[in-house]
Protein backbone atom coordinates (compact mmCIF):
# COMPACT_ATOMS: atom_id res chain seq x y z
CA UNK A 1 0.00 0.00 0.00
CA UNK A 2 2.76 2.39 0.96
CA UNK A 3 4.77 1.46 -2.09
CA UNK A 4 1.80 2.26 -4.31
CA UNK A 5 1.20 5.58 -2.59
CA UNK A 6 4.84 6.65 -2.81
CA UNK A 7 4.96 5.61 -6.47
CA UNK A 8 1.93 7.76 -7.18
CA UNK A 9 3.35 10.72 -5.31
CA UNK A 10 6.77 10.61 -6.95
CA UNK A 11 5.47 10.19 -10.48
CA UNK A 12 3.08 13.10 -10.00
CA UNK A 13 5.80 15.36 -8.60
CA UNK A 14 8.44 14.36 -11.10
CA UNK A 15 6.39 15.77 -13.96
CA UNK A 16 6.65 19.21 -12.38
CA UNK A 17 10.41 18.97 -11.88
CA UNK A 18 11.14 17.74 -15.40
CA UNK A 19 10.70 21.16 -16.92
CA UNK A 20 13.24 22.61 -14.50
CA UNK A 21 15.80 19.85 -14.55
CA UNK A 22 15.81 19.53 -18.33
CA UNK A 23 17.46 22.94 -18.51
CA UNK A 24 20.58 21.75 -16.71
CA UNK A 25 21.77 19.13 -19.19
CA UNK A 26 22.28 21.08 -22.40
CA UNK A 27 18.70 21.16 -23.64
CA UNK A 28 17.01 24.40 -24.67
CA UNK A 29 16.20 26.73 -21.78
CA UNK A 30 12.76 28.01 -22.72
CA UNK A 31 13.05 31.19 -20.69
CA UNK A 32 16.23 32.08 -22.56
CA UNK A 33 14.72 31.21 -25.93
CA UNK A 34 11.66 33.40 -25.40
CA UNK A 35 13.77 36.20 -23.97
CA UNK A 36 15.92 36.23 -27.11
CA UNK A 37 12.90 36.09 -29.43
CA UNK A 38 11.25 39.07 -27.74
CA UNK A 39 14.48 41.00 -27.20
CA UNK A 40 15.64 40.65 -30.80
CA UNK A 41 12.20 41.67 -32.12
CA UNK A 42 12.09 44.69 -29.82
CA UNK A 43 15.62 45.81 -30.71
CA UNK A 44 15.28 45.10 -34.43
CA UNK A 45 12.07 47.07 -34.81
CA UNK A 46 13.44 49.89 -32.62
CA UNK A 47 16.31 50.10 -35.12
CA UNK A 48 13.74 50.06 -37.96
CA UNK A 49 11.93 53.02 -36.35
CA UNK A 50 15.21 54.93 -36.41
CA UNK A 51 16.25 53.97 -39.95
CA UNK A 52 12.88 54.38 -41.68
CA UNK A 53 11.98 57.84 -42.91
CA UNK A 54 8.36 57.04 -43.81
CA UNK A 55 6.30 58.22 -40.85
CA UNK A 56 3.47 55.68 -41.24
CA UNK A 57 5.97 52.81 -41.35
CA UNK A 58 7.73 54.25 -38.30
CA UNK A 59 4.43 54.11 -36.39
CA UNK A 60 3.91 50.47 -37.37
CA UNK A 61 7.47 49.49 -36.40
CA UNK A 62 6.95 51.26 -33.07
CA UNK A 63 3.85 49.14 -32.38
CA UNK A 64 5.77 45.90 -33.03
CA UNK A 65 8.74 47.07 -30.97
CA UNK A 66 6.60 48.05 -27.96
CA UNK A 67 4.61 44.80 -28.13
CA UNK A 68 7.84 42.79 -28.12
CA UNK A 69 9.07 44.93 -25.21
CA UNK A 70 5.99 43.83 -23.28
CA UNK A 71 7.06 40.25 -24.02
CA UNK A 72 10.46 41.03 -22.49
CA UNK A 73 8.61 42.35 -19.44
CA UNK A 74 6.61 39.12 -19.21
CA UNK A 75 9.82 37.06 -19.23
CA UNK A 76 11.19 39.13 -16.33
CA UNK A 77 8.18 38.07 -14.23
CA UNK A 78 6.33 41.41 -14.38
CA UNK A 79 3.02 40.08 -15.69
CA UNK A 80 0.83 42.99 -14.65
CA UNK A 81 3.17 45.68 -15.95
CA UNK A 82 3.57 43.79 -19.23
CA UNK A 83 -0.20 43.65 -19.62
CA UNK A 84 -0.50 47.35 -18.85
CA UNK A 85 2.21 48.03 -21.43
CA UNK A 86 0.08 46.26 -24.05
CA UNK A 87 -3.17 47.93 -22.94
CA UNK A 88 -2.04 51.52 -22.34
CA UNK A 89 1.03 51.88 -24.56
CA UNK A 90 0.19 49.79 -27.59
CA UNK A 91 -3.57 50.20 -27.26
CA UNK A 92 -3.67 53.86 -26.25
CA UNK A 93 -0.54 55.94 -26.67
CA UNK A 94 0.49 54.57 -30.05
CA UNK A 95 -3.07 54.82 -31.38
CA UNK A 96 -2.94 58.49 -30.35
CA UNK A 97 0.34 58.86 -32.24
CA UNK A 98 -1.17 57.21 -35.31
CA UNK A 99 -4.06 59.67 -35.19
CA UNK A 100 -1.46 62.41 -35.16
CA UNK A 101 0.22 60.85 -38.17
CA UNK A 102 -3.10 60.62 -40.03
CA UNK A 103 -4.06 64.22 -39.18
CA UNK A 104 -0.76 65.61 -40.45
CA UNK A 105 0.05 63.12 -43.23
CA UNK A 106 0.30 65.38 -46.22
CA UNK A 107 2.30 64.55 -49.31
CA UNK A 108 5.25 66.73 -48.33
CA UNK A 109 5.62 65.50 -44.75
CA UNK A 110 5.24 61.71 -45.06
CA UNK A 111 8.93 61.27 -45.77
CA UNK A 112 11.20 63.92 -44.31
CA UNK A 113 14.77 62.87 -45.07
CA UNK A 114 17.40 63.45 -42.41
CA UNK A 115 20.53 65.28 -43.55
CA UNK A 116 23.66 63.13 -43.96
CA UNK A 117 25.59 65.24 -41.46
CA UNK A 118 22.92 64.65 -38.81
CA UNK A 119 23.10 60.91 -39.45
CA UNK A 120 26.88 60.84 -39.01
CA UNK A 121 26.74 62.87 -35.81
CA UNK A 122 23.80 60.91 -34.39
CA UNK A 123 25.32 57.51 -35.12
CA UNK A 124 28.67 58.63 -33.70
CA UNK A 125 27.19 59.87 -30.43
CA UNK A 126 24.59 57.07 -30.21
CA UNK A 127 27.12 54.34 -30.97
CA UNK A 128 29.48 55.64 -28.31
CA UNK A 129 26.67 55.82 -25.77
CA UNK A 130 25.48 52.30 -26.66
CA UNK A 131 28.99 50.84 -26.39
CA UNK A 132 29.41 52.49 -22.99
CA UNK A 133 26.03 51.35 -21.65
CA UNK A 134 26.40 47.75 -22.83
CA UNK A 135 29.87 47.58 -21.33
CA UNK A 136 28.51 48.83 -18.00
CA UNK A 137 25.65 46.30 -18.17
CA UNK A 138 28.12 43.43 -18.51
CA UNK A 139 30.58 44.83 -15.93
CA UNK A 140 29.38 42.72 -12.99
CA UNK A 141 30.03 39.01 -13.63
CA UNK A 142 27.28 37.99 -11.19
CA UNK A 143 24.77 39.67 -13.50
CA UNK A 144 25.68 37.53 -16.50
CA UNK A 145 23.54 34.57 -15.53
CA UNK A 146 21.20 33.43 -12.81
CA UNK A 147 20.93 30.24 -10.75
CA UNK A 148 17.26 30.91 -9.96
CA UNK A 149 15.95 27.88 -11.88
CA UNK A 150 18.54 25.56 -10.30
CA UNK A 151 17.83 26.91 -6.81
CA UNK A 152 14.09 26.40 -7.30
CA UNK A 153 14.64 22.87 -8.62
CA UNK A 154 16.91 22.05 -5.66
CA UNK A 155 14.32 23.34 -3.16
CA UNK A 156 11.60 21.37 -4.90
CA UNK A 157 13.76 18.26 -4.85
CA UNK A 158 14.47 18.70 -1.11
CA UNK A 159 10.79 19.08 -0.19
CA UNK A 160 9.81 16.12 -2.36
CA UNK A 161 12.51 14.02 -0.73
CA UNK A 162 11.25 15.01 2.73
CA UNK A 163 7.72 13.89 1.85
CA UNK A 164 9.02 10.68 0.32
CA UNK A 165 10.87 9.88 3.54
CA UNK A 166 7.68 10.44 5.53
CA UNK A 167 5.79 8.09 3.24
CA UNK A 168 8.49 5.42 3.44
CA UNK A 169 8.50 5.74 7.24
CA UNK A 170 5.02 4.27 7.15
CA UNK A 171 2.76 7.30 7.36
CA UNK A 172 -0.47 7.41 5.45
CA UNK A 173 -0.91 10.03 2.76
CA UNK A 174 -3.49 11.94 4.82
CA UNK A 175 -1.10 12.18 7.81
CA UNK A 176 1.68 14.08 5.99
CA UNK A 177 2.72 17.27 7.73
CA UNK A 178 0.63 20.16 6.39
CA UNK A 179 3.54 22.64 6.47
CA UNK A 180 5.61 20.53 4.10
CA UNK A 181 2.65 19.99 1.78
CA UNK A 182 1.98 23.75 1.78
CA UNK A 183 5.65 24.42 1.02
CA UNK A 184 5.46 22.01 -1.90
CA UNK A 185 2.26 23.61 -3.20
CA UNK A 186 3.88 27.09 -2.97
CA UNK A 187 6.98 25.91 -4.84
CA UNK A 188 4.93 24.26 -7.56
CA UNK A 189 2.80 27.37 -8.01
CA UNK A 190 5.99 29.47 -8.25
CA UNK A 191 7.41 27.08 -10.86
CA UNK A 192 4.20 27.00 -12.86
CA UNK A 193 3.06 30.62 -12.77
CA UNK A 194 5.66 32.90 -11.15
CA UNK A 195 4.19 35.51 -8.81
CA UNK A 196 0.52 36.09 -9.70
CA UNK A 197 -0.09 37.53 -6.21
CA UNK A 198 1.87 40.63 -7.28
CA UNK A 199 -1.25 41.92 -9.06
CA UNK A 200 -3.19 42.15 -5.80
CA UNK A 201 -0.17 43.66 -4.05
CA UNK A 202 0.13 46.38 -6.69
CA UNK A 203 -3.55 47.22 -6.17
CA UNK A 204 -3.08 47.38 -2.40
CA UNK A 205 0.07 49.49 -2.72
CA UNK A 206 -1.88 52.01 -4.82
CA UNK A 207 -4.27 52.56 -1.90
CA UNK A 208 -1.41 52.82 0.60
CA UNK A 209 -1.09 49.29 2.00
CA UNK A 210 2.10 47.31 1.51
CA UNK A 211 1.28 43.61 1.56
CA UNK A 212 4.62 42.48 0.11
CA UNK A 213 6.91 43.43 2.99
CA UNK A 214 6.90 43.02 6.76
CA UNK A 215 9.70 45.54 7.14
CA UNK A 216 8.69 47.92 9.96
CA UNK A 217 10.76 50.81 8.59
CA UNK A 218 8.66 50.83 5.42
CA UNK A 219 5.51 51.26 7.49
CA UNK A 220 2.59 52.62 5.52
CA UNK A 221 4.83 53.83 2.70
CA UNK A 222 2.37 52.83 0.02
CA UNK A 223 1.75 54.71 -3.18
CA UNK A 224 -1.49 56.50 -2.29
CA UNK A 225 -0.08 60.03 -2.59
CA UNK A 226 1.80 59.43 -5.88
CA UNK A 227 -1.33 57.71 -7.19
CA UNK A 228 -3.50 60.74 -6.34
CA UNK A 229 -0.93 63.14 -7.80
CA UNK A 230 -0.67 61.18 -11.02
CA UNK A 231 -4.48 60.96 -11.29
CA UNK A 232 -4.93 64.72 -10.96
CA UNK A 233 -1.96 65.24 -13.28
CA UNK A 234 -3.60 63.04 -15.90
CA UNK A 235 -6.91 64.92 -15.67
CA UNK A 236 -5.20 68.33 -15.93
CA UNK A 237 -3.03 67.16 -18.82
CA UNK A 238 -5.94 65.69 -20.79
CA UNK A 239 -8.11 68.80 -20.28
CA UNK A 240 -5.14 70.92 -21.34
CA UNK A 241 -4.51 68.75 -24.39
CA UNK A 242 -8.16 68.97 -25.44
CA UNK A 243 -8.02 72.75 -25.00
CA UNK A 244 -4.80 73.06 -27.02
CA UNK A 245 -5.94 70.81 -29.85
CA UNK A 246 -9.49 72.16 -30.25
CA UNK A 247 -10.62 73.76 -33.51
CA UNK A 248 -10.08 77.52 -33.32
CA UNK A 249 -12.88 78.70 -35.56
CA UNK A 250 -14.46 81.08 -33.06
CA UNK A 251 -11.29 83.03 -32.42
CA UNK A 252 -10.60 83.67 -36.11
CA UNK A 253 -14.24 84.73 -36.48
CA UNK A 254 -13.74 87.32 -33.75
CA UNK A 255 -10.60 88.67 -35.40
CA UNK A 256 -12.37 89.02 -38.72
Amino acid sequence: MNQVASGLVTSQWNIATLGLLAASDGAINWHTLFFFIFALTACGFALAVLVSSHVVRMAFFLIVSLSAASGVMFTSGAHFVGTMQLLIYVGGTVVLLIFGVMLTAQEAFITLKTKAGDWVLGILVGGTLLALLVQVAFLDPTWHSTDYQQRLAAQHEAVTEELRQELLAGRDRSELSPETLQKLADLESEIASGFPENVGRIGLALVGVRADTTDESVGLAGYLLPFEIVSVHLVVVLVGAAYLARAKRRRTDLIE
Binding site: F35, S76, G100, F109, F138, Y148
Partner: protein, 111 residues
Protein backbone atom coordinates in the same frame (compact mmCIF):
# COMPACT_ATOMS: atom_id res chain seq x y z
CA UNK B 1 23.49 27.05 -29.87
CA UNK B 2 25.11 26.77 -26.46
CA UNK B 3 23.81 30.11 -25.27
CA UNK B 4 20.22 28.88 -25.50
CA UNK B 5 20.73 26.36 -22.69
CA UNK B 6 22.24 28.97 -20.34
CA UNK B 7 19.81 31.03 -18.26
CA UNK B 8 19.93 34.75 -19.12
CA UNK B 9 20.91 37.22 -16.43
CA UNK B 10 20.30 40.82 -15.52
CA UNK B 11 22.95 42.05 -17.99
CA UNK B 12 20.95 40.86 -21.00
CA UNK B 13 17.89 42.81 -19.89
CA UNK B 14 20.00 45.91 -19.23
CA UNK B 15 21.50 45.58 -22.72
CA UNK B 16 18.02 45.48 -24.29
CA UNK B 17 17.02 48.55 -22.25
CA UNK B 18 20.20 50.35 -23.28
CA UNK B 19 19.65 49.54 -26.96
CA UNK B 20 16.07 50.85 -26.92
CA UNK B 21 17.21 53.96 -25.03
CA UNK B 22 19.95 54.74 -27.55
CA UNK B 23 17.64 54.11 -30.53
CA UNK B 24 15.15 56.53 -28.98
CA UNK B 25 17.80 59.15 -28.26
CA UNK B 26 19.21 59.02 -31.80
CA UNK B 27 15.63 59.05 -33.15
CA UNK B 28 14.94 62.25 -31.19
CA UNK B 29 18.15 63.83 -32.43
CA UNK B 30 17.89 63.00 -36.14
CA UNK B 31 14.17 62.95 -37.02
CA UNK B 32 12.77 66.06 -38.65
CA UNK B 33 9.15 65.01 -38.23
CA UNK B 34 7.61 66.14 -34.89
CA UNK B 35 5.83 62.79 -34.54
CA UNK B 36 9.10 60.95 -35.16
CA UNK B 37 10.58 62.80 -32.20
CA UNK B 38 7.59 61.71 -30.10
CA UNK B 39 8.20 58.08 -31.12
CA UNK B 40 11.81 58.48 -29.96
CA UNK B 41 10.55 59.60 -26.55
CA UNK B 42 8.34 56.52 -26.32
CA UNK B 43 11.32 54.27 -27.08
CA UNK B 44 13.41 56.00 -24.39
CA UNK B 45 10.70 55.55 -21.75
CA UNK B 46 10.38 51.88 -22.71
CA UNK B 47 14.09 51.32 -22.30
CA UNK B 48 13.87 52.84 -18.82
CA UNK B 49 10.90 50.62 -17.99
CA UNK B 50 12.73 47.46 -19.02
CA UNK B 51 15.59 48.46 -16.70
CA UNK B 52 13.18 49.06 -13.81
CA UNK B 53 11.54 45.67 -14.29
CA UNK B 54 14.87 43.85 -14.68
CA UNK B 55 16.07 45.27 -11.36
CA UNK B 56 12.68 44.44 -9.79
CA UNK B 57 12.72 40.82 -10.94
CA UNK B 58 13.23 38.14 -8.25
CA UNK B 59 14.81 35.92 -10.92
CA UNK B 60 18.11 37.78 -11.04
CA UNK B 61 19.03 39.25 -7.67
CA UNK B 62 18.19 38.48 -4.06
CA UNK B 63 17.94 42.15 -3.05
CA UNK B 64 15.73 43.25 -5.94
CA UNK B 65 13.54 46.34 -6.08
CA UNK B 66 10.45 44.13 -5.79
CA UNK B 67 7.11 45.84 -5.97
CA UNK B 68 8.66 49.33 -6.01
CA UNK B 69 10.12 48.68 -9.45
CA UNK B 70 6.74 47.56 -10.77
CA UNK B 71 5.03 50.64 -9.32
CA UNK B 72 7.61 52.99 -10.85
CA UNK B 73 7.21 51.28 -14.23
CA UNK B 74 3.43 51.74 -14.02
CA UNK B 75 3.83 55.44 -13.19
CA UNK B 76 6.22 55.83 -16.13
CA UNK B 77 3.60 54.27 -18.45
CA UNK B 78 0.89 56.66 -17.18
CA UNK B 79 3.15 59.70 -17.45
CA UNK B 80 4.15 58.63 -20.98
CA UNK B 81 0.46 58.58 -21.95
CA UNK B 82 0.00 62.10 -20.53
CA UNK B 83 3.15 63.34 -22.26
CA UNK B 84 2.04 61.89 -25.59
CA UNK B 85 -1.36 63.63 -25.33
CA UNK B 86 0.15 67.07 -24.63
CA UNK B 87 2.95 66.74 -27.17
CA UNK B 88 0.46 65.65 -29.82
CA UNK B 89 -1.75 68.66 -29.06
CA UNK B 90 1.26 70.96 -29.42
CA UNK B 91 2.26 69.26 -32.69
CA UNK B 92 -1.28 69.67 -34.06
CA UNK B 93 -1.30 73.34 -33.06
CA UNK B 94 2.05 73.83 -34.74
CA UNK B 95 0.72 72.11 -37.86
CA UNK B 96 -2.46 74.23 -37.90
CA UNK B 97 -0.59 77.51 -37.46
CA UNK B 98 2.46 76.91 -39.66
CA UNK B 99 1.16 74.28 -42.15
CA UNK B 100 4.24 72.12 -41.55
CA UNK B 101 5.47 69.51 -39.07
CA UNK B 102 9.15 69.88 -39.95
CA UNK B 103 10.93 70.91 -36.74
CA UNK B 104 13.71 72.54 -38.77
CA UNK B 105 11.15 75.16 -39.79
CA UNK B 106 9.91 75.76 -36.26
CA UNK B 107 12.26 78.62 -35.50
CA UNK B 108 9.27 80.95 -35.11
CA UNK B 109 8.29 79.08 -31.93
CA UNK B 110 10.94 81.04 -30.04
CA UNK B 111 9.01 83.14 -27.49
Amino acid sequence: MGFLSEPVGLSHYLAVGAFMFVMGAVCMATKRNTLGILMGVELILNGANINFLAFASPYFREDNLGLDGHMLALFVIVLAAAEAAVALAIALNFYNNHATIDVDRASELRG
